[in-house]
């Protein structure tokens, strides 16, 4: 039972290591899919949103980490 729990935790951790980033990605994929399937625009518009949106989300997530570190400095000072 413990082994099964650990396998399940490993599988969840593989994809949702950082929940905020994971949910932002799922939202971006949903928006891209809607642009490709429903908007009537050139499908490449949706593809471009996906291809450029992912790196933007990564950088935004790391910037957020930076802001999370800053209070450590203030409290240490």
């Amino acid at each position: 039972m413990t082994l099964l729990k650990e396998v399940a935790a490993e599988l969840i951790g593989m994809f949702f290591g950082d929940a905020r980033l994971a949910f932002a990605l799922l939202l971006l994929i949903a928006v891209s899919a809607a642009l490709i399937e429903l908007s009537g625009l050139d499908p490449l518009v949706g593809g471009t949103v996906l291809a450029l949106g992912c790196p933007v989300l990564l950088i935004a997530n790391l910037r957020r980490e930076k802001r999370a570190i800053a209070p450590i400095k203030r409290s240490a000072a």
């Binding site: 082994l3 650990e6 396998v7 490993e10 599988l11 593989m14 994809f15 949702f16 290591g17 950082d18 980033l21 994971a22 990605l25 799922l26 994929i29 891209s32 899919a33 490709i36 399937e37 499908p43 490449l44 949706g46 593809g47 996906l50 291809a51 450029l52 992912c54 790196p55 933007v56 989300l57 990564l58 950088i59 997530n61 790391l62 910037r63 980490e65 930076k66 802001r67 570190i69 800053a70 450590i72 400095k73 240490a76």
Partner: protein, 249 residues
């Protein structure tokens, strides 16, 4: 017929990702073997490999039943989630925000844990060592299996991707047999960064294909995605590093 320009990225991604995972599994198996000999460690490893093989044999045929576009989309989304997670963690480790993965420290911790268990239940120690090896290989192996399926199944490249993973296993085993200690000099974070870039690039590619998109340049679009994620990873690392350096000052 195998086209190398298509197969090489799948082989490369599966090989590099598998090296990272197999090195981690090797450390745990080595800790079990050092304390109780190779027999329980080998039995645990064998049992884990048998479980993984059973999972592949059971789930493999199901993949053929899934429509290609749905399979590509599902794999693309999972690859994006996994690749971006690896890339984020590699950026944070590279920037010094979170500590690097240390195989020597993990080996010491596993050995100490098994040693503690030895004092409490001496008679069951072979069983505990075997289970430790089984768990380590099973958990790390799951990631290898997923990566092989993910980079291979969407484009009919399961065999080349499996070849990449097998080469990684063989390489780690051969090197491990010679050095007989944790492989702490493998540049694990650099590999993880590179694999994160490749998995994310594959993720965008397959998600788009799954949605019916024809990327301009076909497979060559992958190179553009690799460049985009590489740039984002390097920029993200620089941002996180500047924060870590401010804290250090």
């Amino acid at each position: 017929m195998l086209i190398w320009s298509t197969a090489a990225p799948a082989i490369g991604a599966a090989f590099l990702a598998s090296v990272v995972e197999v090195v981690e599994a090797f450390t745990i198996v080595l800790a079990a073997a050092t304390l109780r000999g190779w027999r329980p460690a080998a039995l645990g490893t064998g049992a884990a490999l048998a479980l993984l093989a059973s999972a592949i044999l059971l789930l493999g045929p199901l993949l053929n039943q899934v429509p290609l576009h749905a399979l590509q989309f599902a794999i693309g989304v999972l690859l994006l989630l996994m690749g971006m997670s690896w890339l984020r963690k590699a950026c944070l480790r590279s920037a010094g925000v979170i500590p690097l993965h240390d195989e020597d420290a993990i080996f010491a911790a596993e050995t100490a844990q098994l040693d503690g268990a030895a004092r409490r239940h001496d008679a069951r120690l072979d069983w505990i060592a075997g289970m430790t090896a089984l768990k380590g290989v099973l958990l790390e192996g799951l990631e290898v299996v997923f990566i092989v399926i993910a980079v291979g199944a969407g484009g009919g490249l399961l065999l080349p991707a499996s070849l990449g993973a097998l080469l990684a296993c063989a390489l780690v085993l051969v090197v491990g047999m010679f050095v007989h200690r944790p492989l702490s000099r493998v540049p694990e974070n650099t590999l993880k960064f590179g694999v994160g870039v490749m998995l994310s690039a594959f993720g965008v590619f397959w998600t788009g294909e799954g949605l019916g998109l024809d990327w301009p340049g076909q497979d060559l679009a992958l190179l553009l995605f690799v460049a985009i994620f590489l740039g984002a990873g390097l920029a993200g690392t620089a941002i996180a590093r500047s924060a870590a350096m401010e804290v250090a000052r």
